[in-house]
């Protein structure tokens, strides 16, 4: 019986090659979208789950209120780990972690290594990384031990055995105690080297609640204890002795949250060593995959019902021969099954071809091997079965209801009816497409707006050179050397580059309301900062060399005065006009005069409005040199800089990046969404048009006789084209009308997240609508024009 079903199904597909092609291709594209998004989702959901103890591990995050501002950070002080373990018996182990970017030397090999992990001894007890050589229990039990990954062993020691060999970093020698497999991509902690936490220096030997720079993880005896422990921690941090010890007074508080390890990546708002994923994105991605699939399925349903008109005689005959309704129903379900199985197979091939492009869009690094995952294959098969059932259900149901008598009656066509379902599906397809198109245009406009917005400084042609090792001791010489390189126009340095300032701070002001604190962002910079960044001063001046004279460190800082630049917003917040501000005193740990007011510039993401900012002169904090170079002479200038670097900085490789690249990285998430939405919108409209193309072909064939008669009666080609296209275009226009308010709602919701955003303009909707209608018209007119110019004698003879 089933053999017969499939045989008939196969021959039917072969006979109607165009429709089968449209169906299979459409479903394959829909399934590929699902597959690719599926591997991404599976990857995101698998984060950190490879750890055997995952359920019992928590990350400790810190929340505190100071100066009226609540801060939440993923890092904690050194005290949290050891003190909690001593206090709460449900904690088995703790580990404090920190990742450093530094140079590692082995003989004459020197590399810049971005992922050197400093962690307490229990690290490998809490997390499960696979060891190739060495013992996880003893791998970190001495200060001079270091664990390296397989790729690092290969990089530094080639084919030699790495165990027991020496590596040097931060002026210390380490012995390789173990080699572990490279860290899986779904780990929130990614490292190439691990050594003891205490090697970070004297600062970490002392246990303190503050100086919160370290990420702390706890291993509990039992995963059921997490909420109980959270309660205990809350009570403990509220107790008077602890508050006193931590120096928390009045309304201020300090508390800690326990985040289950497996929830950190998708649910935490606090990024750790790497940016977190977002469960919202998982939902959005799933929704997009689903929408594309719906469009593809709708094509199938539509074409199958349209084709049915040609098959009533066959079904009637089958019934005369004794087939039951059930048997006809399953025959049609089999056809849809054959189509989806083809589509499923094709989708795997398509996905493998498209994987590199997907990786680029989603910022992932999947290899084609992921398609071998049993979970993925099973899901694909289940999905195919579901699709074949849902897309095939309606046509099968209707067709199987055909009466035996219809074999004897000509002209019966279930296409002749109102076709509410088919029309609704077309409207749905084009609505989804239009919403995606409009939303994509708005995202792209916003992206372009952010890229070209006047930030208040010029981010182009700024070379950023990281400062490390002994370079600070040699600061002025290096700066002079860079300044003299032809092509370099100005040089400055700072703690953070201006595109994203994170240093939080506070100052004290006195006014009629009395003494109170203002929390703000602060950035230590070197001379020439305003000049190099091409910022505008609206009052006062930039820092100058003589300002160093104020900063008198003798007599234990007795006469130390710190010169400040403030931004417009800070001046306004304190209550000064820019002119009034000059010469006023900023009250802080280091007090000093305001020498200038800079025009507001965006020092944070465009999601946030510009806040108050304090800029102070202090080159000892500098972590990056920033060089403005001549835009017409970039590569030669970089080559000359590298030569100067090699002469003067012998212990570090020449690494640089451009400030505008760093700026663009801030919006990587948006960039990815925009790319994803662009692709989704294009796929959606192509699939929708493909379906329309197939349907138009059908209607035209069906109306051949009508068209012939109309032509004999004198209708022109234009009116025939209009006649055939009209019905479809009505539906597309209706879809546009539905999609506009939905797209407007979604877009304005999305834009709300940006403090600096575009205004949604009406022409976007008009353009998208006109484009969709035009595309739909072109699709349909292929058939309608062909019908219009056909010889009517031929079409009438078919009777």
């Amino acid at each position: 019986m089933f053999k017969n079903y499939f045989k008939t199904a196969w021959r039917n597909l072969w006979k109607n090659k165009m429709y089968s092609g449209i169906n299979i291709f459409g479903l394959a594209v829909g399934l590929s979208a699902c597959l690719l998004i599926g591997i991404y989702i599976i990857h995101e959901l698998s984060y950190d789950k490879f750890n055997k103890n995952a359920a019992r591990v928590v990350r400790v995050t810190m929340e505190y209120e100071m100066a009226g501002t609540v801060n939440k950070i993923a890092t904690t002080g050194t005290k949290v780990g050891p003190q909690f373990k001593r206090t709460f018996p449900s904690i088995e182990e703790y580990v404090r972690t920190f990742i450093i970017h530094n140079v590692i030397k082995q003989g004459d090999k020197v590399f810049d290594e971005p992922r050197i992990l400093y962690a307490d001894e229990a690290f490998f007890k809490i997390f499960s990384f696979h060891f190739i050589e060495g013992n996880p229990a003893t791998a970190l039990d001495a200060r001079n031990k270091m664990v390296i990954t397989r790729s690092m062993a290969k990089k530094y020691f080639g084919d030699e055995d790495a165990l027991g060999k020496t590596l040097t970093t931060a002026g210390k020698d380490f012995t390789v105690s173990a080699v572990c497999e490279d860290v899986p991509k779904n780990s929130q902690i990614k490292f190439d080297f691990v050594t003891q936490f205490l090697n970070l220096g004297n600062g970490v030997n002392e246990e303190t609640w503050w100086t919160a720079n370290w990420i702390t993880y706890l291993l509990l005896h039992d995963d059921k204890n997490i909420s109980q422990l959270q309660q205990q921690v809350n009570d403990y941090m509220k107790s008077t002795p602890v508050r006193k010890e931590a120096g928390v007074e009045g309304n201020n508080y300090l508390s800690y949250h326990l985040e289950p390890l497996t929830r950190v990546h998708l649910y935490s708002s606090l990024p750790g060593f790497e940016p977190n994923g977002n469960i919202k994105n998982i939902y959005i991605f799933s929704l997009i995959a689903l929408l594309i699939l719906i469009i593809a399925c709708a094509n199938y349903t539509n074409l199958a019902t349209a084709q049915s008109s040609g098959r009533t005689a066959e079904i009637g005959m089958r019934k005369v021969m004794g087939s039951s309704r059930k048997q006809v129903f399953f025959q049609f379900i089999s056809e849809s099954l054959v189509i989806t199985l083809f589509a499923g197979t094709l989708s795997i091939i398509l996905s493998i071809i498209l994987l590199p492009y997907f990786n680029k869009i989603a910022g992932t690094q999947f290899s084609a091997l992921v398609f071998g995952q049993p979970l993925l294959i099973t899901t694909l098969i289940i999905f195919s079965l579901l699709i074949s059932f849902f897309a095939g259900f309606y046509p099968a149901l209707i067709l199987s209801g055909t009466k035996a008598i219809s074999v004897l009656k000509k002209g019966f066509a279930f296409t002749g009816g109102k076709n509410v379902l088919r029309k609704s599906l077309i409207v749905a397809q084009f609505s989804i497409s239009a919403i995606l198109i409009i939303f994509t245009i708005i995202i792209l406009q916003q992206m372009n707006f952010m890229k070209t917005k006047d930030l208040g400084y010029n981010k182009d042609h700024i070379v950023v050179l990281p400062i490390g090792g002994k370079m600070l001791n040699n600061f002025q010489n290096l700066k002079d050397a860079f300044t003299q390189v032809p092509g370099v126009e100005a040089v400055t340095a700072s703690y953070e580059t201006p595109e994203y300032v994170q240093w939080g701070d506070a100052i004290t002001v006195r006014d009629e309301k009395g003494k109170h604190d203002i929390s703000l962002h602060a950035m230590p910079v070197d001379l020439d900062f305003v000049k190099t960044m091409q910022m505008k001063l609206i009052a006062g001046r930039d820092f100058q060399k003589s300002d160093f004279g104020m900063m008198d460190t003798s007599n234990n800082y007795q006469n130390y005065r710190q010169p400040y630049l403030i931004n417009e917003t800070l001046a306004k917040k304190i209550g000064w006009t820019p002119e009034q501000a000059i010469g006023q005193t900023i009250e802080k740990a280091a007090t000093g005069p305001v020498v200038g007011v800079v025009k507001d510039f965006n020092f944070s993401s465009l999601h946030d409005p510009i806040g108050p900012l304090l800029i102070f002169l202090n080159r000892d904090f500098s972590r990056d040199f920033m060089l403005r170079i001549n835009g017409s002479d970039v590569q030669p200038t970089l080559n000359r800089l590298e030569m100067v670097w090699k002469q003067r900085v012998t212990d570090r490789p020449f690494n640089y990046h451009f400030l505008d690249d760093a700026y663009n990285k801030l919006y990587q998430a948006e960039q990815r969404s925009s790319a994803l939405f662009s692709v989704a919108a294009v796929i959606a409209i192509i699939l929708a048009c493909l379906g329309l193309f197939g349907l138009a072909a059908f209607t035209t064939v069906q109306r051949t006789k009508e068209i012939g008669i109309r032509k004999v009666l004198g209708a022109g080609a234009g009116s025939i084209t209009f006649l055939v296209s009209k019905n479809f275009l009505q539906l597309v226009v209706l879809a546009m009308i539905i999609s506009v308010p939905v797209a407007w709602l979604i877009s304005s919701k999305w834009l709300q997240d940006f403090a600096y955003r575009i205004n949604i303009s009406w022409w976007v909707f008009l353009a998208a609508g006109v484009a969709a209608i035009l595309i739909a018209f072109l699709t349909v007119s292929f058939h309608s024009i062909r019908a219009a110019i056909a010889n009517p004698v031929k079409s009438l003879r078919t009777e």
């Binding site: 005689a313 066959e314 089958r318 021969m321 004794g322 048997q327």
Partner: protein, 221 residues
């Protein structure tokens, strides 16, 4: 075998009622070969469809092999015709996607007959109709006469007691038509009950009995 008493069938157009069949009485005994004749629109095909239970009627009694068809539900009616009646059509109505062999086999599949048995039955009938050599061809590769031969083979494969044929030679040339009629005669001689609709006096003459229909009413001979 067949008893029709006072059968009426009509359609309503506006407030006007058009009768397709009007007070039809007919009885057919096993082994008869009946030809229904009459001009276009006289209700020949409608009567055949009513007998074949493909179409319903509005009034009257219909007894088929001692079953009261007018009292049966749709489902029981269809199982009755599946079991006892074979159909042959003017336009053959072979399934284009199936080969000759598969077309003939299909009714057996719907009756859940085992593969080995099906093979034997189909081979038998192919042999009897001398179309073994054509069994792997598709309908479009056959002449009209050959297609109708396959259609008849398909109608007979499940051993029906009654064969209904709606202008079986209407699409054929005279030579092909004659062959088909000879086959019918032979089947009838072997004991098959046959009812055919035809326009041709000559074809009607193969039957044992002619019924003339005009405007849905049987004319007295």
């Amino acid at each position: 075998m067949i008893e029709l008493k006072g059968i009426y069938k009509w359609v309503n157009t506006g407030n006007h009622r058009t009768f397709l069949l009007k007070d039809v009485d007919l009885s057919v005994k096993e082994g008869e070969f009946i030809s229904i004749m009459g001009p276009s629109g006289s209700g020949k095909s409608t009567l055949l469809n009513v007998i074949g239970m493909l179409d319903a009627f509005d009034e009257g009694e219909y007894n088929f092999l001692h079953e009261s068809v007018h009292k049966l539900k749709e489902k029981q009616r269809s199982s009755l015709y599946k079991q006892y009646i074979g159909f042959v059509f003017q336009a053959y109505h072979l399934i284009d996607e199936l080969t000759v062999y598969e077309n003939i086999e299909t009714p057996l599949i719907y009756q859940n007959i085992k593969t080995s048995e099906r093979k034997a039955m189909v081979a038998d009938i192919l042999d009897r109709f001398q179309i073994v050599g054509k069994k792997d061809l598709f309908p479009t590769q056959l002449s009209g006469g050959q297609q109708q031969l396959v259609g008849i083979a398909r109608a007979l494969i499940a051993n029906p007691k009654l064969l209904l044929a709606d202008e079986p030679t209407g699409n054929l040339n005279s030579k092909q038509g004659e062959e088909i009629m000879r086959l019918f005669k032979q089947l009838n001689d072997e004991g098959m009950t046959i009812i055919q609709v035809t326009h041709s006096e000559k074809n009607a003459s193969y039957g044992s009995h002619i019924i003339n229909l005009l405007d849905g009413m049987i004319q007295d001979n």
